[in-house]
């Protein structure tokens, strides 16, 4: 009898000691640990990191200026010949006599730029709309949700095509905004759904019972809890964004600047136009787009797996 009581006390001491020293594991540290153990996420992150390094150090890595036309390349340009690899130009020429390798390297920068901006703008607008809808409820919620319904009435790429086609003149910003706006309703619905689910949850009820201000509950308790879902969605959106941008370029709705080295533009305009003359002009940017899109999809799915509270230990 005594022995059992002794054992119980010991066990309780052990448990309190463990809780005190660890203080439990913080959400983010735990998430980070599980992310590092997830092979899908690691492979995705590695691919992205590689391209990110190329993008950041493009001026150091690229052998030439991406917009300069080289006389040694332009002299061999005809309607159906584009110079292939030569001594100074390992990937050969593009249709305007520019160094193709340098354009591919700078392309990492431009493509990431388009993807990051389109995703961020879509995320911010979506989170704003969804957050307001979820926090306010009532008629504000109804109006915002009906608005997202209207945007979701068209498949996303068609909506992007519509937005660009209805703009009077296409620039790089038209493309970025169109691809961003397409994702706004998705982020808005995601965040609103998550906030509605939390409104009746224990931690929010507890905070409300303690008399915490509404704004404080929304910013400190509800938004951080919805964050993982939004981040995962943003990662997956990035892949879609660069694919959509490439599709717009292919349809002639892309950036009209002929100097811009962006993979989607290189693939969608010159790549397909000269497919029979020099397929590398399509192969290389396509491969780069596939790899980056794959990287973000893998990272997103790995994150979804790792950050799922059901898998939390």
């Amino acid at each position: 009898m005594n022995k059992l009581a002794e054992h119980k006390r010991q066990r309780i001491d052990e448990l309190t000691a463990r809780t005190a020293e660890g203080g439990g594991v913080s959400l983010f540290r735990d998430a980070g640990r599980r992310l590092l153990r997830n092979p899908t996420a690691i492979v995705g992150a590695t691919i992205i990191l590689l391209f990110l390094v190329i993008a950041i150090f493009a001026p150091l890595v690229a052998p030439h200026d991406p917009v300069q036309r080289f006389p040694e390349l332009t002299k061999d340009l005809t309607v159906d010949t584009i110079p292939g690899p030569t001594a100074g130009h390992p990937f050969g020429s593009d249709p305007l006599g520019r160094d193709f390798m340098s354009r591919m390297i700078y392309g990492a920068r431009q493509t990431m730029f388009v993807g990051v901006l389109a995703t961020t703008i879509g995320l911010l607008l979506g989170v704003l709309l969804g957050g307001v809808a979820g926090a306010a409820g009532g008629w504000i919620d109804v109006v915002i949700m009906r608005f997202t319904d209207v945007m979701l009435a068209l498949p996303s790429l068609l909506l992007a095509i519509t937005l660009v086609a209805l703009a009077s003149q296409s620039t790089q910003w038209t493309v970025i905004m169109a691809v961003a706006i397409v994702n706004v309703p998705i982020f808005a619905r995601l965040l609103r759904g998550s906030m509605l689910a939390q409104r009746e949850s224990d931690h929010v009820l507890a905070a409300r019972a303690l008399g915490v201000k509404r704004r404080h509950i929304v910013t400190r308790h509800m938004l951080p809890n919805s964050l993982t879902a939004v981040i995962v969605q943003a990662t997956l959106t990035f892949a879609v964004a660069i694919l959509d941008a490439a599709a717009l370029s292919f349809l002639g709705l892309g950036d009209p600047d002929i100097n811009r080295a962006e993979w989607g533009l290189m693939l969608g305009v010159d790549g397909v136009r000269y497919f029979e003359v020099r397929p590398e002009l399509a192969y290389f940017p396509a491969l780069a787009i596939i790899l980056v899109a794959l990287g973000f999809t893998l990272l997103g799915e790995g994150m979804r797996e790792a950050l799922d509270p059901k898998n939390r230990r």
Partner: protein, 334 residues
């Protein structure tokens, strides 16, 4: 059931009205409006005036909006700026081509996707499963217009297996009944025309099917895995039901529910993908019509009608999918 359908139809109507309203005011809020976009910068003031009067843009905006709504409801979208024909005629002519392409793509996506997803799930963690997953990941990461050019280059230029573009060989004497060439050939017993049209259909349909195929495989796999873990499967196996019975009546029936939803959503991918695929293969359907209406000066009347049509198709398909739930899932009785 009837109540749900009518409520959803009213919702659909309001959504479409809001969409058209947004597009109407968007067009008129552009600097210079559609007139400048149509004429370019070199237009003389007289031609400008004439066009403004012809399009009714000299009237107050609310009057214009009223006319616009009346026309949309009665299906009168005006005349195409490019060809001068009534918009409905232009669209009617291109519609069957896209229907044929989209249906073929959907048949491929479902016909290959469900069995592949099921097989991958049954061989979970093994080579077949991993290969399938990698293929689907590449499938959703590849720009489909690039895939289209790739297939076209390999199978029509290097090896002459398939025709490179168009819906039917020139000189093929086919009778037009429904506008769906493969079906027409069967109906009129012109089997050579049917076979020829089918041959033209293979590459475009596979290109268009890529994304829905990849997604259907993934969803089927995930859903089958879910069901395989369920208690009622263990029960079915434990009580000695034969394997084929368990698979058909217990696994597949339950696993296919989420797949049905995805098929509805993938109609969207088909509509958008058709624009890209039709441009690659010069298909001459609605996708080609969109491309033609946005290249150079924009054909706004045609564009407006096409946008409305796409939205109607997308929403109606998803409505049908939701309603079919009541039929296939006894738990959802609306």
């Amino acid at each position: 059931m009837l109540k749900v359908v009518s409520r959803r139809l009213i919702q659909l109507f309001i959504t479409l009205l809001a969409l058209m309203t947004l597009i109407f005011f968007w067009l008129r809020s552009l600097p210079g409006g559609p007139v400048d976009a149509l004429l370019g910068e070199r237009a003389t003031p007289e031609t400008r005036e004439r066009l403004i009067r012809a399009l009714g843009y000299d009237e107050p905006i609310w009057v214009q909006y009223g006319h616009f709504l009346k026309n949309v409801v009665t299906g009168n979208f005006g005349n195409s700026i490019r060809t001068g024909e009534p918009v409905m005629d232009v669209i009617g002519r291109s519609f069957p081509a896209t229907v044929e392409l989209a249906v073929a793509a959907m048949i491929i996506a479902i016909g290959l996707g469900v069995p592949l997803g099921y097989l991958a799930a049954r061989h979970r963690g093994r080579a077949l499963d991993n290969a399938t997953i990698i293929l689907t990941l590449v499938g959703i990461s590849i720009p489909i217009f690039f895939l289209g050019y790739l297939l076209k280059d390999w199978l029509t230029q290097s090896v002459h297996v398939f025709p490179p573009s168009g819906r039917i060989s020139t000189g093929m004497d086919n009778t037009d009944v429904t506008g769906l060439f493969v079906l027409d050939g069967l109906l009129t017993r012109e089997f050579d025309a049917s076979a020829d049209a089918l041959w033209h259909l293979v590459l475009p349909a596979f290109t268009l099917a890529t994304i829905p195929l990849a997604i259907i495989i993934r969803i089927t796999r995930a859903s089958v895995l879910d069901v395989l873990d369920a208690d009622y499967i263990r029960t079915a196996e434990a009580k000695g039901l034969r394997n084929p019975t368990v698979r058909k009546r217990h696994v597949l029936r339950n696993a296919l529910l989420p797949v049905v939803t995805i098929i509805g959503l993938q109609t969207g991918a088909l509509l958008a993908g058709a624009v890209l695929t039709e441009k690659v293969y010069n298909w001459g359907g609605l996708g080609t019509l969109i491309t033609d209406s946005i290249s150079g000066s924009r054909d706004y009347p045609v564009l407006q009608a096409l946008i409305l049509l796409a939205a109607v198709v997308f929403i109606v398909v998803n409505l049908v999918v939701d309603l079919s739930y009541a039929v296939i899932d006894p738990r959802v009785r609306v």
